[in-house]
């Protein structure tokens, strides 16, 4: 399922959108980019915000040898 399809499903939902966000399989970088591009005060921004919250971009830990 693409990110756009997941967001569309969340926008149309009358259910628990936090649960949809939590269980979605998404690329955190793609979510972050889409979140930053989304217009403020829209349902899309709300949904991408939840996805960003549950799928944060994890910075790789630098190993010092």
């Amino acid at each position: 399922m693409t990110l756009a399809a997941i967001v569309e499903q969340m926008i149309a939902s009358y259910g628990d959108i936090q649960l949809i966000a939590k269980t979605a399989i998404v690329d955190p970088v793609e979510v972050l980019t889409a979140f930053e591009e989304a217009k403020q005060d829209t349902a899309e921004k709300v949904c991408l915000g939840l996805l960003k919250q549950f799928h944060p971009v994890v910075e790789p830990v630098k190993i010092i040898k």
Binding site: M10, I11, A12, S13, Y14, G15, D16, I17, Q18, L19, D41, T42, A43, V46, C47
Partner: protein, 172 residues
């Protein structure tokens, strides 16, 4: 605009609902969107546009949010037990209003209560004169009663049961 940044008095909150007889409630995501969504339900008196909403003239806005729910676990030998939050129900709102038999909002609540299956978006709006913070939820009405005692003005009492997970916060 931004969130109100001050301690709000209780009476600054007002209760609004969609005005249509058979409304299409806002979706869960839109309950968190002020512009063109929640804003249309809240009237101009509380910082909205009010094109799709009506105010419920209630005596006071009751507590809203979610109920407590927890499981208590105990471990042998440990001094204290542990309380873990579990699945909580939304808080039901029992509302008292002065009974005006012609009030549009109260007639709508009476109709919803007799029907029992009408989902409607309600909004609690707290307004400081400039900014609004809104708690929007979808709910159904039940237990509509008229209390017409001789010693006081007649009251209309009804309960709004919010639907699970269908709530959102927004601000102007």
């Amino acid at each position: 605009m931004a969130l109100p940044s001050k301690v709000l008095p209780g009476f600054s909150a007002s209760l609004w609902c969609q005005s249509a007889a058979t409304p299409t409630p806002l979706t869960t995501a839109n309950l968190s969107v002020w512009a063109a969504q929640v804003q249309t339900i809240v009237g101009t008196a509380a910082g909205g546009t009010g094109t799709a909403g009506t105010q419920l003239n209630v005596e006071a806005v009751p507590a809203f949010g979610q109920d407590d729910a927890m499981a208590n676990f105990s471990v042998a030998g440990s001094r204290q037990s542990d309380k873990i939050p579990t699945q909580a129900a939304p808080t039901s709102m029992t509302i008292t209003a002065a009974w005006n038999p012609s009030d549009t909002g109260l007639l709508q609540m009476r109709s919803d209560a007799y029907n029992g299956t009408v989902d409607r978006t309600f909004v609690v709006a707290a307004y400081d004169g400039t900014n609004v913070v809104a708690y929007a939820f979808n709910g159904r009405v039940s237990q509509f009663q008229i209390d017409a005692q001789p010693g006081a003005e007649a009251k209309a009492i009804f309960t709004v049961h919010p639907r699970g997970n269908q709530y959102g916060w927004s601000n102007s």
